[in-house]
């Protein structure tokens, strides 16, 4: 589950990771008020106005501004709230901005230069261990840094039995070129960041940039946080942070029916049991001259109710020109699935797009016969390659 920056920072602060002071605002008026309050509390005379959406690269699309006066805070908030923010991580239409985070300025003047670092905590799948990845080259796209200057990226692999050790935290601070107070602050920062990651059952904490301010303080200036969905049952407070407005409404609806659905932009919808077979079916649609409109795993119980819900969800997408149902009956019998399809079809009424049903496994022949006898305009197949040919045919 993805979190907004302001939510990520709430978690960080709870574990003692220092972040800029900030207040969330839904209107320009609230934004100006927030800036005023921050001025009083922190003495800041500049403010960051940051769009809160679930996508990175917000600055590039004009979603992050530095305001030099309260008036400017209001103006920027006016611009940003309600805009369709396009970033390298959104679709071409962008995402609607509903709220902004107003923060104190941490790029203030002082005795030392201000520096920007990169730091993330994430799972290293090869090792099955968490690691801290960091770089003195912060504030930029880390994939570009990895490509151009791989020597500027460092990692610390963490032994789950002991957690992050003192020497590892010190090594990170040394590699970032710090000394004196900022060194001490960084050691503390890294320790707290790892604790936050573990404590929240996160699958990603990416802080880009980490700021060493001119007075040696260390701040998480941004926070990209993803929480392990499997672990949410032990974090009801974090589960409550889920922002349904940031998600595709059809995907949210599918989730309520316990259907695993991901919307794509193709023209052939599909309904499959099992994630691997679903991906393979999408690939096959592509090879047959179509393009998958979705990923949909109906799971182990493909009864009439679920099939009907799945049909309805797929057909909400106006781009869908055909639907391919691909079920491998194991424990679930194909004749039952076929009956489910027939019932769902009749319940929905007339379906105006071609439907191809491929049933294989337990009672596949009976399932196909049932579909063929139903009189519905449904193409049926048993072999995967025949289903592929049918997709090609109906699209022509």
């Amino acid at each position: 589950m993805n979190l907004h920056e302001y939510q990520g920072k709430l978690i960080l602060r709870k574990y003692g990771v220092s972040t800029p002071e900030g207040i969330l605002a839904f209107t320009p008026k609230e934004a100006t008020k927030a800036a005023q309050d921050l001025g009083k509390n922190t003495g800041t005379t500049r403010w960051a106005v940051k769009a809160q959406i679930h996508a990175g690269g917000r600055g590039k699309g004009g979603g992050v501004k530095i305001a030099k006066s309260l008036d400017e805070v209001g103006q920027y908030a006016e611009q940003i709230i309600g805009m369709m923010l396009v970033t390298p991580q959104t679709s071409t239409q962008g995402k609607l901005v509903r709220k902004v985070l107003i923060e104190e300025n941490i790029y203030y003047a002082g005795p030392e230069p201000t520096l920007e670092f990169y730091m993330s905590v994430l799972l290293n799948r090869q090792e099955g261990r968490n690691m801290i990845m960091y770089s003195p080259r912060g504030g930029m796209d880390i994939e570009a840094v990895a490509e151009e200057t791989p020597e500027a990226i460092f990692t610390e692999m963490i032994d789950p039995k002991v957690g992050l050790t003192g020497f590892q935290a010190r090594r990170i601070a040394f590699n970032l070129g710090l000394s004196g107070n900022s060194f001490k602050n960084m050691v503390k920062f890294v320790g707290a960041l790892y604790q936050a990651y573990i404590g929240a059952d996160a699958s990603l904490f990416e802080i880009n940039p980490v700021i060493k301010a001119a007075d040696g303080r260390i701040f998480a200036a941004d926070a990209k946080v993803a929480i392990d969905g499997n672990a949410l049952y032990r974090h009801p407070d974090i589960e409550d942070m889920r922002d349904f407005e940031e998600e595709d409404p059809t995907e949210v609806e599918a989730g309520m029916h316990k259907l695993n659905y991901v919307k794509l932009d193709g023209n052939v919808g599909c309904m499959v049991n099992g994630a691997g077979l679903a991906m393979a079916t999408m690939d096959m649609i592509k090879m047959s001259g179509g393009s998958p409109a979705n990923f949909l795993d109906v799971g182990g119980t493909a009864d009439a109710r679920r099939v009907e819900q799945a049909f309805r969800i797929i057909m909400k997408d106006p781009n869908v020109k055909a639907i391919l149902v691909n079920i491998f009956g194991g424990i679930v019998r194909c004749d039952r699935v076929a009956q489910g399809i027939v019932d769902a079809y009749n319940n929905i009424g007339t379906i105006h797009i071609p439907i191809i049903v491929r049933l294989q496994g337990t009672n596949a022949e009976e399932g196909k016969a049932l579909i063929d006898r139903s009189g519905l305009k449904v193409h049926s197949a048993i072999r995967l390659e025949d289903a592929a040919k049918l997709v090609d045919q109906v699209l022509k």
Binding site: R125, P160, Y233, M279, I331, G361, E385
Partner: protein
């Protein structure tokens, strides 16, 4: 021969008396798998499906000599069940449970390093040696004893593969479902290695998907040590970046874990990669002649 499980295995079912455990244990028994009993804490001393129920895995091992365990325990307790099996001396632990927190698996994987055991899964269909032992939730009737080994991250896609092989007249030595989670107990490479070293396996099908580097790691190993033909399919060529496709582990992060990148590495290592999942069986038939 075969790998991991066979007719001489002594199989224990953890989460024996629950719905899932009961249903699949019965299916396993019906297939003729040597199930010796089960574990449900608090129900020790009972009989279930005609077999003894134990409170702890160590009790069960002492009384039955169990050496294989299959786990149907719900996600919050599943990692604990895996560790309990290891501590009790179970050699092959097969965890079917889907939805275990990643943090639990990171710790569990570390814990298992102290024991002489192998974990398959979690979030997997299990392992079957056709004609000898089914230790999983796969439909038994599609299988046929033979000499093709299968390693797969997916459930139904494994069944699809098995079905195609059987229809080509190619039986299976052992089909291993390693599961779709980001921290699996057994990697693709480790499972391939088991099958490469099995004298009764003549060819191997490797079913992978987007996310991680397991298939690439396996491919480099095969290039170095492989002695048998390998057919591979990688699912998810059409999956968008950054979206999890059903399996927690199926997500494209960087350039290296896309289906295209994986296929290129596999081909470079001499593996016969098919682009369509419909061609897995025929390709293996062609290679084995």
């Amino acid at each position: 021969m075969s790998v991991l499980v066979n007719k001489n295995s002594r199989i224990l079912v953890q989460g024996f008396t629950g719905n899932e455990g009961t249903f699949h244990a019965q299916q396993m028994i019906d297939y003729g798998s040597p199930v010796v009993g089960g574990v449900t804490p608090g129900k020790g001393g009972m009989k279930h499906l005609g077999l003894p129920v134990f409170n702890t895995v160590s009790d069960a091992v002492k009384k039955t000599g169990a050496d294989v365990s299959i786990i149907f325990v719900p996600p919050p307790m599943a990692a604990d069940a895996i560790m309990e099996a290891a501590e009790a001396g179970i050699r092959v632990i097969i965890c079917i449970t889907e939805g275990i927190p990643i943090a639990d698996m990171v710790i569990t994987r570390e814990y298992l390093k102290g024991f002489d055991c192998r974990l398959i899964g979690p979030n997997c269909p299990g392992v079957i040696t056709p004609g000898e032992a089914k230790v999983g939730i796969m439909p038994a009737f599609i299988h046929q004893p033979g000499s093709v080994g299968i390693v797969s991250r997916s459930g139904t896609l494994t069944y699809e593969t098995v079905d195609q092989l059987t229809k080509e007249g190619l039986g299976q030595s052992t089909a291993i479902g390693i599961g779709g989670d980001p921290v699996p107990g057994t990697t693709t490479r480790e499972a391939i290695e088991l099958l490469m070293n099995d004298p009764d396996t003549n060819g191997i099908v490797m079913i992978g998907e987007i996310g991680g580097s397991m298939e690439a790691d396996a491919a480099y190993w095969i290039r170095e040590f492989g002695t048998k033909p390998v057919v591979a399919f990688i699912a998810g060529a059409t999956a968008p970046k950054g979206r999890t496709m059903g399996h927690a582990g199926a997500i494209v992060g960087g350039h290296a874990d896309t289906a295209e990148a994986k296929k290129a590495i596999l081909r470079e290592c001499g593996i016969s990669v098919v682009d369509s999942p419909a061609d897995i069986g025929t390709k293996m038939k062609e290679l084995l002649g």
